[in-house]
């Protein structure tokens, strides 16, 4: 879909070769964002040992040189922004860098006026306030959230080589989500035995609505009011959102105001006109909820460059909406040979897993790829396998292998187009 197309890079590539910070790149190379305030940071600071530091504060902030930013889409007004995957390590996305995708802007909802209505095929139609929701036994889990349009820009044969992981796959973030299991709320209201679906509706200007099989609601669905230990952010659905581990982002209805229990889907615009997957045989797949296994190398990637040959740690993220990641393989020769990467604990179901692979760069041109396998035995496909299975018009659920080219100069570019 157009709104999920990656925005393009802006700063010159020389800029990022000259800087010297960046946690992800192990202090050797930086990002183009560094170029912006490069001069400020090159002024040598006073020896910190020679004067007392500043006192504690109510709210922390990032070190002045650390400037990870979301990247809003190019259209005005934009309806999405992307997480800076290449400026983060580990698996958690800081809440202020969590990706955004919304269909009617971010609403301002006061917590004291918030109500969640649960009705339909239930014995006791009920309105829950935020304090009601918080009083139920709570659970939390680490889980990824991904827009099903994430990465669809790479389905074209010629995506820009100057694409960052943020531009390619930044509609992906991971948080600790806290809330009340939807199964608890459904038990409280008494679901009728003939019910089989829910309609989940947001309280935003789009009243975004999706039909959700009741079985998911009775399994691991959460009404989430917490994100990474604090209140869910407005951009992620404050005061409370639906969280459906492993399912496409759009079904995780934000600003949740209504759940109607029913016995059939409503066929909303977001499950017919959008978020459906036309296939080569003239049909379109509908209710394609689960996010299949996927991975991306976040370093080395554009806009980084390797200044030296020698040992480098290839780093990336792998995730599957169907369970745990069991294996990630890395290739440095465009897929001819593969080696197992190390999976860093914790390896959790329906959560991003960090992988690392020690690689000795000999200075010649290399094509770096990663390939994830999940606990169902699903192996992340190559581009031609995915398009072969669905058709060249496929768009959502673009989970094929991503490729980076390391040139002899050390410059790294996105190589999807080049290899195709």
């Amino acid at each position: 879909m157009d709104s999920a197309d990656p925005p393009r890079g802006r700063l010159s590539r020389r800029a990022w070769l000259t800087t010297t910070s960046g946690v992800v790149a192990a202090g050797l190379v930086g990002t183009r964002f560094d170029a912006v305030d490069l001069s400020a940071r090159q002024v040598p600071a006073q020896d910190p040992r020679s004067i007392p530091g500043r006192p504690p504060s109510e709210l922390g902030s990032r070190a002045p040189g650390e400037r990870p930013r979301r990247l809003p889409g190019p259209q005005v007004p934009s309806s999405s922004s992307r997480s800076p995957l290449h400026e983060l390590d580990g698996i958690i996305t800081p809440a202020d860098l969590h990706f955004e995708r919304h269909h009617g802007g971010v609403p301002e909802i006061r917590p004291d006026g918030y109500e969640l209505l649960v009705h339909g095929m239930v014995d006791r139609p009920t309105v829950f306030t935020l304090s009601d929701l918080r009083r139920f036994p709570a659970v939390s889990r680490l889980a990824f959230l991904e827009c099903s349009g994430n990465g669809n820009g790479t389905l074209r044969r010629d995506p820009s080589p100057e694409s960052t992981p943020q531009e390619i796959d930044g509609l992906l973030s991971t948080s600790e989500w806290l809330g009340v299991p939807l199964s608890t709320l459904l038990r409280e209201v008494g679901v009728r035995p003939t019910a089989s679906w829910l309609l989940a509706e947001g309280g935003d200007a789009a009243l975004l609505a999706r039909s959700i099989p009741l079985a998911k609601g009775m399994d691991d669905a959460l009404v989430a009011y917490g994100q990474n230990g604090e209140a869910t952010r407005p951009e992620q659905g404050y005061p409370a959102r639906l969280f459906l581990p492993g399912w496409e982002g759009n079904t995780n209805v934000k600003w949740l105001r209504r759940i109607e229990v029913s016995d059939r889907p409503t066929m909303t615009r977001e499950e017919t006109s959008r978020y459906t997957d036309p296939l080569a045989d003239g049909t379109a797949r509908q209710f394609s909820f689960a996010m299949d296994a996927k991975s991306i190398i976040t370093f080395p990637s554009f806009p980084y460059a390797l200044p030296d040959r020698g040992w480098w740690e290839v780093r990336g993220l792998a995730w599957s909406g169907r369970g745990r990641i069991t294996r990630v393989e890395v290739s440095a020769d465009g897929g001819r040979s593969w080696a197992d990467a190390r999976l860093q604990d914790p390896v959790l179901p329906k959560c991003t897993t960090r992988f690392r692979h020690l690689w000795r760069w000999n200075g010649s041109q290399a094509f770096l790829m990663s390939r994830a396998t999940d606990e169902t035995g699903y192996v992340q496909p190559m581009w031609d396998m995915l398009v072969g299975a669905r058709g060249a018009g496929t768009s959502y659920h673009a989970n094929h292998v991503r490729t980076w080219k390391v040139a002899r100069t050390g410059e790294v570019t996105f190589a999807q187009g080049e290899l195709a």
Binding site: G104, H119, D123, P125, T126, V127, D132, F136, R156, P181, T184, L186, R187, E188, V189, G190, V191, R192, P193, T194, S196, L199, A205, A206, L207, L208, A209, P213, L214, A215, K216, D219, D220, R257, R258, E260, D263, R264, M267, T268, T272, S273, T276, D277, P278, D281, G282, A284, R285, Q286, F287, D292, R322, G323, T376, G377, R390, G391, A392, G393
Partner: protein, 240 residues
């Protein structure tokens, strides 16, 4: 959507729901009226969910197990007694979704000629005077008239109401929620029926003089009806 008019015969019961309890007689009544089969909730095999009301297709969810993933803490009461009972007056203003069988459609009516006035005044700035010019989503267009090439062809052209939407009722549901985007939900029921009549007429799906109302809208058969199939991805080695 209001329960009136729902006929829930022959739908699969999810075994997971057996745990939900039946504190008053209402479930017993439903059961007596609607003899249901139990299927599809075997752990690991996923759940089977009916999609079409006539049972013509259902969805198998390989990734969902019989819940709940988080059992309640030991000693939890039958009910926590939280929340406030919601009566019909509380539910009705929010319960405005519309289903393919027409359930939820309000009274009112409109024709394409009235709809054109609504369109020009309230929609055309973003969707173009004939629904084809943009800048936002293109709503009008039947091309390509043959087949459904959107999966096979990366450049099959824009997906429109005329070539891609499986249900006409979705227009009512969506416009009531989200359009016009600058003042969402501001159209009256008559205006909504009228603008839908205009959109469907421009897409050559209904005649110009059709009176659009709850029954005529639910009866519209869309060119893309029947194209939509359940997700057949299941995990495992096969790429789909």
């Amino acid at each position: 959507m209001r329960r009136a008019g729902l006929a829930a015969a022959g739908l699969a019961v999810l075994a997971a729901l057996a745990a939900c309890g039946a504190p008053d007689g209402s479930q017993e009544r439903d059961r007596a009226e609607e003899p249901a089969r139990t299927e599809g909730a075997t752990p690991g095999a996923g759940a089977t969910v009916p999609v079409e009301a006539d049972g013509s297709w259902s969805l198998r969810l390989a990734d969902v197990s019989e819940g709940p993933a988080w059992p309640l803490p030991a000693g939890s009461p039958e009910r926590f007694g939280l929340g406030t009972a919601a009566g019909a007056g509380r539910i009705a203003p929010w319960d405005r979704d519309v289903r393919p069988d027409g359930t939820g459609l309000p009274p009112g009516s409109g024709r394409a000629a009235d709809g054109e006035r609504v369109w020009i005044a309230k929609c055309s700035a973003c969707h173009g005077p004939t629904g084809t010019e943009g800048p936002n989503d293109r709503l009008v267009g039947r091309e390509p008239r043959e087949g459904f090439p959107f999966g096979a062809e990366p450049r099959a052209g824009p997906r429109t109401v005329g070539n891609y939407w499986p249900y006409a009722t979705t227009l009512f549901d969506y416009i009531t929620r989200a359009m016009p985007q600058n003042v969402p939900g501001s159209l009256t029921a008559d205006e909504t029926y009228a603008v839908i009549a205009w959109i469907l007429a421009r897409n050559e799906i209904v005649a110009d003089d059709v009176v659009m109302d709850a029954s005529t809208l639910a009866a519209v058969r869309m060119p893309a009806a029947g194209r939509f199939v359940p997700d057949d991805r299941r995990g495992g080695p096969e790429v789909r």
